[in-house]
Symmetry: C2
C-alpha cells in the first residue's frame, strides 16, 4: 500500500567532468529507477528549490514524490529522512467541516478538528447556497468562505499536532457535489435544475497554491469524485469506508446528511439514489433541532402507559435542543404512547400538560424550562412533526424504490451500513417503529461513523484508492428520484406511522384510528 | 505531424436524466476517444472556463489540447473552429532575442520580430551575467529583465500579426544553458565553475502564467533541452534545423554565438564540444564591432597589389561599424595584401596612411571619417586583431580536437553546416584563408541561418520533436574543452595565419617571414 505522497531515499554519483549531467537530471534519473522507469515531472515552482536542496545535501537525501494518476511528480528534497509526512483528510460538509491530520508514513492520526462551514451565513442549505452563488459575486464569496474555513481548520490541526501547515503534503476532500463545486469555484447553477448536471464530477488533483490553501504549495488536492448532482464524493467515501464495492453479499449504505443518499450493491454492481430526506432527521429543520453535539437530547424514552419522559443529552449537560436521533426516539415514543396518531398528528386528550401552544401551532414539551440550560423549554411543534413525517416517508420511499429497481426484498440485504452522526446516534429500532427504516433484525444495521472522512483518509494512505474511486463512480447506476413517478406514489403511502401497509412492519404495534 | 497544441472538434449527447454525467466529464470522455483512449487532464485554472464554454456552445465545438510528454491536457473550448492557432518560437540569445509567430494549424509564419535582451545592461556576456546573478537579488533582476523582453517581443509580434498575445497557445524557447537558467530563475553559479554543472538540463513544459508571460496563461512553455553548461538547447535546435541526427553521412554543425559550439556525427552517433571563440567573430569584441545589422560593413575586398579597399554594408547605408563577416574579410585581406604578418601583427611599411594610432594601439582605417554615418572612421586596432587571432585559433582548435576524438579527417565530412548570423554572412573562403575553418572545397560549407529559431519552430509544429530532442541530448558525447590538454596545445599552434603547419592549408598562400 503506497500513500499518495511518499518519500524516496536517493544517492547519486557526484558530478564530475566525466559526468556532467544537470543536478536535477541526475536526481530525476535516480528516482526513475525507483519509480518503475517513470521519470518524475518537476513543477516549475519547485524546480530551483529541489535542485538546490539536492546539491546542498551532497547529492543524497530524501525526495518527496506525488503519485499523480498520470505519473510521478517530484516536489521536494530533504537532506535527511523526515520523521513524519503530514497529510490532511477533510470531510467538507454543508454545515460542518471535519478533518484529520495523518502521518502518511505510519498512517497514524496526529490530530482531528472540526468547525462550522463559514458559508452558513450565506445560506443554510445547498439550495440557498446555489441561489446565493448565482447572484453577483456570490460564487466568489462562497469559494473564499470555504477556503478560509479550511485554512482555519488547517491552522487548528497544525497547532494541536505541532506541525506547521506548510508541511502538509496532501489534502483529500470528500464532500457533496455542491460543496465541491463551491470549493473549486465552479458554478453550481445546473445542479438543482433538471436534468441536474454538475459541471465536473471528477476533477484532477490540483496544486494547493492554485486554490489559495495554506498547506505546502505543491501539495496536491485529491477530490473524491461525484456521481451526480445529488450523489457526491462523500458517498463514494462511504462506499470505501464500508467496502461496499468489495462485498460478496448484497449490502446497502445509507448516508443522511443534508440529503439522504443510498447505495446498494456488491463487488459486481452498485445502484444508488438520493433525495431530500435529511434536514428534519439531521436536526436542521425542527425549531429546537440542533446538530448532534454537547447539550443535544440524543435519546428519549416515553413510558407508553404513564407518558413520563426520560432523556439523555450528549455530554450529560442540561439540554439545549434535540438532535436527529432524539427526534426519532421522541416521535416513535409519542406514537407508541398514542400521543400522536398514525398521521403524526397530536392527540390532545393523551398529552396532558405536555401540550402547549407555540405561536400558531400546538407543541409538545420535551424538557420543561426549569431543566434546560437557558430556561427555555425544549419543545416539538406540530410543524416539526409534519416535517419529520415527510422526511421519514421520503427515506422509506427512497429505500423501497431502490430495492424495487433490482427486484429484491429488504430481507435479501446482508447489512445496512448507516453513515454519519445519524448512524452513530439513532436507535434503529425507533427508526423502524416510525417506518423510516425497514423492519429487519436490528443486527442488520451497522453504524459506520463519519464515512466521508474515512474515505478521504483512504485516498491519502493508499494511492490505488484514486483509481478505485473512479471505477466506483463509473460503475454506479444512479436513479434520479426528482422525476421518478414510483417514488412519488410510494412517498404518499409512507406518510403514516409506520406505513399505510402495516404488513410491511410486522414488529410494530398498529393502532387503528380511534 | 501533430503540433504541440492542436484542435479537436467534438460533439456529445445533450445531458438528460438518463445521461447525467458532468459537463466536463462528458467532454473529456468524448476527447479521450480521439486521443487514443487517454483522458485529458484539465488544469484547475481552466476547469470552470472550459466547462462553461462547452455548455454555452451547446455541447459541441472545438477543444484545445496540449500534447504534453506525459499525456494530453485540455485547456480551452471554442464554439466554432478557430481559423488560426498562434504559437511563438523564440531564440533566446544572450544579446538578442528573435521570435516568430506561427499558425500551428498551417505552419505559416504570421510575424517575426527581434529585440535586444534587456539583461544587457547587467552584463555583456554570459560570465558577467552569471556574476551578476549570484549577487544579492541579481538572479531575480535578470529573470524579470528577460521576461520583460519576451513580453515586449510578444506585444510586437501580436501587433504585426493583429493577434492578441493572450491568444498565443504555446511558446518554444531555444537558448544557451545560462539564458535558460535565467529565464527559469535557476541559479547559474555552477555553470562557469568546474565541473561546469547546470542545475537542470531538461525542464518539463510549464504553464506560461507561472513564468509571468503575457501569452495565454495555460500555454505551455517548451524549452529545448541543454546537454551541458556550454552546450545549450540552441545547439539542439541547430541539430534539428540541419537534421544532423538523421544524416547517413557524417556532417558537422558549427554555431558561433557568444560561444563557438560544434557538433559532429550522423544518425548513429553525435559528439560535441564548445569553447569561447565567439565574441570577436560575432563583432562583440572589436572596438568598432557590431552585430550584423543595418550599417555594418559585412564584406571587404582589399586589392593585394594596390591595397585599395572596397566594402559593402548591410542595407547599403554609410558604415557605422563592422560585423563578424566583415572582420574576417578584412583580416584575410590584410594578410593576403601583406599588411599584417602571419601572427596578425601590422606591418607599417605596407600600410601607408591607413595606419593611425588609436589611444595606445596602432590601428587600420577601414573607412575614413568622411565615408561613415557619424563622421568617425571605422577602424580596427592591433588589440582587435589579437582578439580575432585568438578567436580563430580557438575555433580551428575546437574543430581539430573534435575530429581527432573520432580519429577522422576533415575530408571525411560530407557537409559543414554553419549556423547563425556568422554562417549567413561570412565568406567561407576568407575564413579558410585565416585558418579559422579547414581548407575544404567551399561547397562543403552550408549556411543554415538562425537554426536556434528553426529548431524552436520544429518543436511547436511537431510534438514528436520533443522526444527527438531529448534523445539527441542523451546521445551526444560532450567533450569538455576547458580542461582538455590537447585543445590547449592545438590552440598555440593555431595562432598563426593560416597555421604553423601550413601544409594543413594548401590553398592559402604562405608568406615566409620577411
Amino acid at each position: 500500500m503506497q500513500a499518495c505522497v511518499t518519500l524516496y531515499q536517493v544517492e547519486t554519483d557526484i558530478p564530475s567532468l566525466h559526468d556532467n549531467r544537470g543536478d536535477l537530471d541526475r536526481l530525476r534519473k535516480a528516482l526513475a529507477m525507483k519509480l518503475s522507469g517513470r521519470t518524475p515531472v518537476v513543477p516549475f515552482q519547485q524546480l530551483a528549490h529541489v535542485a538546490e536542496k539536492f546539491r546542498e545535501s551532497g547529492f543524497k537525501g530524501t525526495a518527496v514524490i506525488n503519485h499523480l494518476p498520470h505519473g510521478p511528480e517530484l516536489i521536494d528534497f530533504f537532506p535527511t529522512h523526515p520523521n513524519v509526512l503530514p497529510g490532511m483528510a477533510l470531510d467538507l460538509g454543508t454545515t460542518h467541516l471535519e478533518a484529520s491530520l495523518i502521518d502518511l508514513i505510519t498512517g497514524k492520526v496526529l490530530a482531528t478538528a472540526n468547525r462550522p462551514n463559514s458559508q452558513l451565513v450565506h445560506g443554510a442549505d445547498i439550495l440557498e447556497r446555489i441561489h446565493f452563488a448565482t447572484k453577483n459575486d456570490g460564487l466568489d464569496v462562497l469559494h473564499q468562505a470555504v477556503i478560509q474555513s479550511i485554512n482555519d481548520l488547517t491552522a487548528q490541526l497544525g497547532k494541536t499536532a505541532s506541525v506547521s501547515p506548510a508541511k502538509i503534503r496532501a489534502l483529500s476532500v470528500s464532500g457533496n457535489t455542491t460543496m465541491i463545486h463551491l470549493f473549486l469555484k465552479l458554478n453550481p447553477y445546473h445542479i438543482c435544475r433538471e436534468p441536474y448536471i454538475p459541471m465536473a464530477n471528477a476533477p484532477d488533483p490540483c496544486p494547493a497554491y492554485e486554490l489559495g490553501l495554506d498547506i505546502h504549495p505543491a501539495a496536491r488536492v485529491w477530490i473524491l469524485p461525484n456521481v451526480g448532482s445529488y450523489f457526491g464524493g462523500d458517498l463514494i467515501s462511504g462506499i470505501l469506508a464500508c467496502d461496499l464495492d468489495r462485498k460478496e453479499e448484497i449490502c446497502m449504505l445509507i448516508d443522511v446528511g443534508t440529503n439522504a443518499e443510498v447505495v446498494m450493491g456488491n463487488s459486481e454492481w452498485l445502484i444508488a439514489c438520493a433525495g431530500a430526506a435529511g434536514p428534519a432527521l439531521e436536526g436542521g429543520v425542527a425549531q429546537m433541532g440542533m446538530r448532534a453535539g454537547k447539550g443535544a437530547i440524543e435519546h428519549i424514552k416515553i413510558d407508553p402507559e404513564t407518558g413520563s419522559i426520560k432523556y439523555t443529552t450528549i455530554d450529560n449537560t442540561p439540554p439545549m435542543g434535540i438532535c436527529g436521533s432524539g427526534i426519532i426516539d421522541l416521535v416513535a415514543g409519542l406514537y407508541l404512547s398514542r400521543m400522536i396518531d398514525i398521521r403524526g398528528k397530536f392527540r390532545p386528550n393523551r398529552m396532558g400538560d405536555r401540550l402547549i401552544r407555540d405561536k400558531e401551532s400546538p407543541a409538545f414539551v420535551v424538557a420543561p424550562a426549569e431543566e434546560t440550560v437557558n430556561n427555555t423549554p425544549v419543545i416539538i411543534s406540530q410543524i416539526d412533526l409534519d416535517a419529520l413525517i415527510r422526511s421519514k416517508a421520503a427515506m422509506y420511499s427512497i429505500l423501497t424504490t431502490l430495492i424495487n429497481q433490482v427486484s429484491m426484498k429488504f430481507e435479501d440485504l446482508e447489512n445496512i451500513f448507516v453513515a454519519g452522526a445519524f448512524g452513530r446516534h439513532i436507535d434503529p429500532r425507533q427508526a423502524v417503529v416510525l417506518g423510516m427504516l425497514p423492519d429487519l433484525p436490528l443486527q442488520t444495521y451497522v453504524p459506520i461513523g463519519n464515512s466521508s472522512l474515512k474515505g478521504a483518509r483512504k485516498i491519502l494512505l493508499d494511492a490505488s484508492t484514486w483509481d478505485r474511486c473512479h471505477k466506483i463512480a463509473k460503475k454506479i447506476t444512479y436513479i434520479e428520484l426528482n422525476v421518478n413517478q414510483e417514488f412519488m406514489i410510494r412517498f404518499s403511502g409512507s406518510r403514516f406511522i409506520p406505513h399505510t401497509d402495516h404488513t410491511l412492519f410486522p414488529s410494530v404495534p398498529f393502532f387503528s384510528e380511534d
